[in-house]
Amino acid sequence: MHIPDGFLSTSVWATMSAATVPSVAYMVRRAQREVEEARVPLLGVMGAFVFAAQMINFPVGIGTTGHLIGSAVLAYTLGPAAASVVMTAILAIQALVFQDGGLLALGANVFNMAVAGVLAAYLPYHYWGAGRWRKAAIFSGAALSVLTGALLALAQLRFSGVAMPGAVVWVSLGLFTVNALLEGGITLAVMQSLEALNPGWLRKPAASGRTAMGVLLTAAVLLVGAGVLFAASDPDGIEKLAENLGIASHARTLLETPLGGYEIQYLSSGWLRKATAGLAGLALIYGACVVFGKLIARRRSA
């Protein structure tokens, strides 16, 4: 689900962007270390491949078809960091050229699909991709990536105050689950077919052995997704809980945003405050970008 502009409240898109920029910067740095610049064409072409692969329909049931989303396939073939960069590039092109997803919302969309989605896809593969649970790992990774992205998007919309009756939330959850299972099935079929053509295309998963860590991380991803959704759909419940624990004030600032918390006192006007918060958020992101870039440059030249 690509969130367009105009849906997210300033605090939500600004926060998500602030979270996404360093994540993407980190992924770019890792990918750059793993992939030399000579291989950049491969990443771009693989992005184009995912675009094109989405045009191929899979039979789902009577009269309906689905299509690949692709973050899991990218993660299993290029590795998580490069896959994350490629997904970011795809989302950027979709927002700029196809009006699929907004530009201010790009931070949120990238976080949902290119950061959390790719990591969720890769975790099970990383830990169980080598052993006898391989098929299950591929399937569940792909399913998890779709589910994580969708849950996060739903939560962000709820946090922004977009009205969704309870029934709609449940129906969407059902649809997401179907989509997730579908992505799992398609990804598994594609990966088996790829392996038959050339096993060298698949990334070798880490030797299993750290199962406990894998369970923990995968569970954490799911819990965070579900927890965020719960918090968003029932903020009162969370606040009551927080009040009972005596941390209401902390929880509120945490749940809102780092910027929403900073009241700019001398600006009594609500919208000016919001706009300033937005601009400040952007400036912050920009600053973070530049500083990050400088740090990377220094590290590389050192």
Binding site: P4, P41, V45, V60, L68, A95, V162, A189, L197, I296
Partner: protein, 247 residues
């Protein structure tokens, strides 16, 4: 294909086409933020933004109908959520969702439709977006059409053999066939990437892709940037809900 149209528009000539990509990107962000922070119920302000965008599209010599149509891609999504807000009794927000998402999409269409992708990417690079990411975007954009065309051919070929009928019931081999098609597409993309790498190596590639110099920021760019921030902001203050000042 969709992006070919935008690409053709972007190679036109007009005051807007000639502006520095950085100025356009910054103006776009400012506009999006102004729209995003406009309180719901500011229909007059929305009309003002719309007029501003329309003026920009005309100034750029873009076909107004085409721009309006392309931006409308977001409307089905927005309409679904607007309907939910409507059911929840919040018709002010319902309208705001439609207005804001549509105006934002139009603004993106106008900027991307007046800035060739290479210039846009170069602008983003000098604004600090990581070069590595932009190179991936650049190659993605370059091969998007090539590989989509390949997929299209494969789909036509599959259709000619009767496997693309969506009415047939689910059969396991058809899932396999589709997965096989994707693998073949993957294989071709992979070998294409190898071919590109060879072509780069043959012309002395040594690990760094150099680009021709970016344009210079001129006074017209500054004037454009100031105008495109001040006008929507003025609209926001003059016409926003409650006279622009908070309720």
């Amino acid at each position: 294909m969709h992006h070919v149209v935008l690409d053709r528009w972007s190679r036109g000539r007009s005051f807007l086409h000639h502006r520095d990509a950085r100025a356009k990107v910054l103006a776009l962000l400012a506009f999006l933020i102004i729209v995003a922070t406009t309180p719901p119920g500011s229909n007059a302000a929305a009309a003002g933004y719309g007029a501003f965008l329309l003026a920009a599209a005309l100034l750029a010599g873009l076909p107004a109908g085409g721009v309006l149509w392309r931006g409308a891609v977001v409307l089905p999504f927005s309409a679904a959520f607007a309907a939910m807000s409507l059911f929840a009794g919040d018709n002010i927000r319902a309208i705001a969702l439609l207005e804001k998402s549509y105006l934002s999409a139009l603004a993106v269409v106008i900027v991307v439709g007046t800035t060739p992708m290479p210039e846009l990417l170069r602008g983003l690079e000098s604004l600090g977006v990581p070069r590595f990411l932009l190179l991936v975007v650049q190659f993605l954009y370059r091969y998007l059409f090539v590989i989509s065309e390949q997929a299209q051919h494969m789909r036509v070929a599959a259709g000619a053999r009767g496997t693309a009928s969506t009415l047939a019931v689910f059969r396991r081999w058809r899932l396999r066939a589709a997965a096989g098609a994707i693998s073949v597409l993957f294989a071709r993309s992979y070998s294409r990437a190898e071919g590109i790498y060879r072509a780069m190596a043959a012309r002395g590639f040594r690990g760094h892709i150099s680009l021709l110099a970016a344009k210079r920021f001129r006074w017209q760019d500054v004037a454009f940037l100031v105008a495109s921030v001040v006008v929507p902001a003025a609209v926001r203050i003059a016409l926003g809900a409650g006279g622009g000042w908070p309720r």
